[in-house]
């Protein structure tokens, strides 16, 4: 009994621990309690009965209905996006190159070479390299072509005819 009185004092001072409050609540849920504590019983009962209050039902709005409104928005967005793309594509100058005033435009590893002389040097070097690789790669191909041309019967005949005509014209 003294214990409960002490706990009650602590409780109303707001300094009871969780365990102490549980003890008080259990005590006040009993049928028989000491008379001097009777007046506090309604307080603890009130808290217990408030715990039983439940919320009204909330019906989650029908998702199907929500989905119906989406297609309209999608179409409008799609139309505006398509229009925007079209607008941009048609109006923008297509090539970045068209914008440069300089004769040469060079980027090395993403960095622009602004000095025109250096840019020219580098660009010519690169083009030459590529051309060289192509020339070397195609050399056998070209040689074969040349040989084929030389072995071309028609050509040989034509050349001979031309020669004969020349000789004939000289003699005459």
């Amino acid at each position: 009994m003294e214990n409960i009185d002490k706990l009650l004092d602590k409780y109303f001072d707001g300094i009871t621990s969780d365990e102490e409050e549980i003890i008080l609540k259990e005590y006040f849920s009993k049928e028989e309690i000491s008379p001097q504590h009777e007046m506090y019983k309604p307080l603890f009962s009130a808290f217990e009965s408030e715990k039983q209050i439940v919320a009204p039902k909330f019906t989650i709005p029908d998702e199907l209905n929500e989905k119906k409104s989406l297609p309209k928005r999608i179409w409008i967005t799609a139309a505006s996006v398509a229009a925007a793309i079209l607008f941009i594509v048609l109006l923008n100058p297509l090539s970045k190159n068209a914008k440069t005033e300089n004769n040469y435009l060079v980027y090395i590893n993403g960095k622009e070479i602004t000095n025109q002389e250096k840019a020219q040097q580098y660009a010519e070097e690169m083009f030459m390299q590529a051309e060289e690789i192509i020339r070397v790669s195609y050399q056998p191909f070209e040689e074969t072509k040349a040989i084929k041309a030389e072995m071309d019967a028609d050509k040989i005949f034509n050349d001979l005819s031309v020669e004969i005509n020349n000789i004939e014209s000289i003699i005459q």
């Binding site: 001072d13 707001g14 009130a46 408030e50 209050i53 009204p56």
Partner: protein
């Protein structure tokens, strides 16, 4: 977040949220309206709710703010201020009530909103001090101070009520 997730993650706090509304608004039908309104707004914003770190604190704070806003609007319209301390109900009126629990409700409702909400969060919802601090957005010390004030006030009201009962009905007990 789909309907099922909303059910599991948000609607599990329904009862606490409704009781919070009831405590602040002190009116059954307005509490139901407030609750429905909060739920509707939460459903509309359900995508953002997926990232909530502390749903309980967020939801309870939202409900409290919604209710306080409601009361403020009514105050602007010339109705009762939410924060003034009510005078203790007339002891004779209280004595006429036969149901002592509802008398207690009235006593609790007579506390200023902050004390009342904190007392209920502690004694009805069983939240700890730190959780209450998050919802009320005040320090833990402030929570304890308000809790102590609220409970002390309740004790005074209970004792005063008791003494009045004895005065009026003493000779019949």
């Amino acid at each position: 977040m789909d309907a099922q997730q909303f059910q599991l993650q948000i609607l599990c706090y329904s009862d606490k949220l409704y009781r919070m509304a009831r405590s602040i608004l002190k009116d059954e039908s307005r509490s139901q309206d407030a609750y429905q309104e909060l739920m509707t707004r939460l459903w509309e914003k359900r995508k953002q709710l997926e990232k909530l770190e502390n749903p309980q604190a967020f939801l309870l704070t939202s409900m409290r703010n919604l209710c306080i806003d409601l009361l403020r609007k009514e105050q602007e319209n010339g109705e009762i201020s939410p924060n003034t301390e009510y005078n203790a109900p007339n002891p004779y009126q209280l004595v006429e009530q036969t149901n002592t629990v509802s008398v207690i409700y009235k006593m609790i409702d007579s506390l200023p909103e902050m004390q009342r909400t904190i007392v209920r969060m502690r004694d009805v919802e069983d939240l700890d001090i730190s959780e209450i601090a998050e919802v009320m957005q005040i320090t833990e010390n402030a929570v304890m101070a308000n809790l102590s004030r609220g409970r002390k006030k309740l004790r005074e009201i209970i004792i005063a009520h008791q003494q009045n009962e004895r005065k009026v009905y003493g000779k019949y007990r």
